[in-house]
Symmetry: C2
Subunit: 384 residues, 2 copies
């Protein structure tokens, strides 16, 4: 990698607070080296000046690259083969200022970002998740990772952490996108989790080493989570939440937005329900997520089993009606059955033959009754 280019991107990464749409556009036009020189000299238009004016004299690119190296991290730039160009193509296409693409990404870990984001799903949600939300996030994380999909999330307490842990539990790939420097153990209680994520996957951030997690950065960071994934699943979210922002970014990027339902009495499912009412796909298990993000026809979710089969399954309507009409313990003749069921007498007789062949009814002294064993099975499977 060209060192001037890397230093230019490192400088630009610190000079503007993301998202910086005007600067991103300038870089796309003239390249990072020239853009960095112009910004440094203040020879830029009003919009780029607004994004870079305050920090343009701050030259910490060498210090930042050294700090990253010291923390086992590196700067990834669009000129790298490893850059997930496909993931960020949609940022330009979205035409939304808030969705300006990142100028560079600081990454820590053994993973290759382009590979990780090639088959990836974002699983995000509330910090104050319930045990239900944690359970579902863990199951989805494990299920997706088990099928070779990278679980992308924000490493926060709650749903994010459970999703990462689910992926790690099956030795699957996972990527954490932070709102601060990648060397920071944030949140502090997730220090070990972040190490484990880095060991097999990547910890990623737009913010140079040393950056602190200011609140607005969490929201800005969410577009990177949405961008690195083929779809976003919200597991639990209050009506006003960062996860909703990730979902809205995913929608702007043209990626599927999914939400896990929960009790309507839980405020932490209210955001998910709102998303579904606004058009997000309701998902209840891994297969349904994959069906939404995978190419057409792949990973089609098998319909769930519809519970215990009934003894009358596969019978025609008349036979089922005759079977229904027969009382549990009393024997009846075919004429009685015809009257009770409303099925013509000829059809009743054929129905009884079919039912007898199945072992559902038995015949004695001109009357029919239900077979006790079949009746027990039928009762167990009953109920509308």
């Amino acid at each position: 990698m060209n060192v001037r280019l890397l230093r230019a991107r490192a400088y630009l990464s610190r000079v503007a607070e993301p998202p910086a749409p005007a600067l991103a556009e300038l870089v796309a036009e003239v390249g990072p080296v020239e853009a960095a020189e112009w910004v440094h000299a203040g020879r830029v238009g009003e919009q780029v000046a607004g994004e870079t004016g305050v920090r343009r004299a701050v030259h910490r690119e060498d210090a930042d690259l050294a700090a990253a190296a010291a923390a086992g991290a590196r700067l990834l730039v669009p000129e790298h083969d490893e850059w997930p160009a496909d993931a960020f193509e949609a940022f330009d296409a979205a035409g939304v200022a808030e969705l300006a693409p990142p100028l560079a990404l600081w990454v820590r870990g053994s993973g290759v970002l382009r590979t990780l984001s090639g088959r990836a799903v974002a699983v995000v949600g509330a910090r104050a998740a319930t045990s239900y939300g944690l359970h579902v996030a863990g199951e989805l994380g494990a299920g997706l990772a088990d099928r070779g999909y990278t679980v992308v999330s924000g490493a926060a307490i709650g749903v994010d952490g459970a999703a990462h842990r689910g992926a790690l539990a099956v030795d699957g790939p996972t990527t954490a996108v932070l709102a601060c420097g990648v060397e920071r153990p944030y949140p502090a209680s997730h220090q070990l989790l972040l190490e484990r994520i880095a060991a097999g996957g990547l910890v990623v951030s737009e913010y140079p080493p040393g950056s602190v997690p200011a609140r607005h950065r969490f929201l800005v960071r969410n577009r990177i989570i949405a961008g690195l994934a083929g779809g976003t699943v919200v597991v639990e979210a209050a009506l006003r939440s960062g996860a909703q922002r990730t979902a809205s970014d995913a929608a702007s990027l043209g990626r599927p937005v999914m939400a896990v339902p929960g009790a309507v009495t839980s405020g932490l499912s209210a955001g998910c329900h709102r998303l579904v009412r606004d058009g997000a796909l309701l998902v209840t298990r891994t297969e349904e997520v994959l069906e939404a993000v995978a190419p057409m026809g792949v990973h089609l979710a098998e319909p769930l089993e519809a519970g215990a089969a009934r003894v009358t399954d596969g019978l025609d309507a008349a036979a089922a009606r005759v079977h229904d009409a027969l009382p549990a313990r009393v024997a009846r003749d075919s004429r009685w059955l015809a009257l009770e069921s409303g099925v013509p007498i000829g059809a009743v007789r054929s129905a009884l033959v079919a039912l007898e062949r199945r072992g559902l009814v038995e015949h004695r002294d001109g009357r029919w009754r239900r077979c006790p064993a079949a009746q027990a099975a039928s009762t167990r499977a009953a109920g509308a």
Copy 2:
């Protein structure tokens, strides 16, 4: 009411097991009196003969009318003013044999069916409901009845019973549609409930007095529930359930189908989630149900409160970023704030003025710090 006509409908009500599409068509063509005579004489086509052949010699119309009267019930026929013609119009339009309209309805109670079904919502679901399902059904029943909507259901144990009880708890209107004679206390444990429903509303059935609740009748009965309501809400349902049938009947009738979400770990919410994935509207509260069933623009659900307001609500983006950049307890000057937030120094100064005016920051010795009280409020409201 013409007695011959009433007796003809009573005869037809017993002669064919519903749904009887061919007989319904014959009655629509030649009227009930002539149709009854033809059926009695066997002078009918093959299809009508198939529906009526077995019971055509059974003349219990007088006995049935007497039994109904003895039980405080009466026969309601399409020729009555009280007949809910609007409700059943869709049955003919649906063009589905299973959705043949009822030939008559046996009703017990003080209500007027046409009035009750004019503003009505069906609330149905599993017998083996969870406490969650019972709670939600009760809340919806009460909420709908409180707004003057009739709660239509099947009087079954579980969701149905909870929905009826919810309506009764607010002295609201409710209608139970049975799969057996209206004089039967079925299920037995709902005897008192059925009395209370009849006291202010109606207990309704297609089946003449004495009819027993055979299993297929529950499914056939569900079309009457769907038909008497402007929309159907499924509260809890297994993947294979009678409630799904009610929902599918409602859809065939062009009425909104709604489903209440629940935990994805609950098999009793699986049917609801399937419905939503297949296009049903996810609903979480009464207002959302009314929005779906009421005429356009009426009962628009107010958006839920999005939780506690934040102290930075309404600030422009720059001011919010400056506020975020200011540490919790340390005072900083405006230049530091500009560097940290990336906001130009001039904009930082205006932002600080705006923040000071709001009481969010205070100024001392050339430095700014957060006001302790505002900070506490801000911390409480924090979290993505």
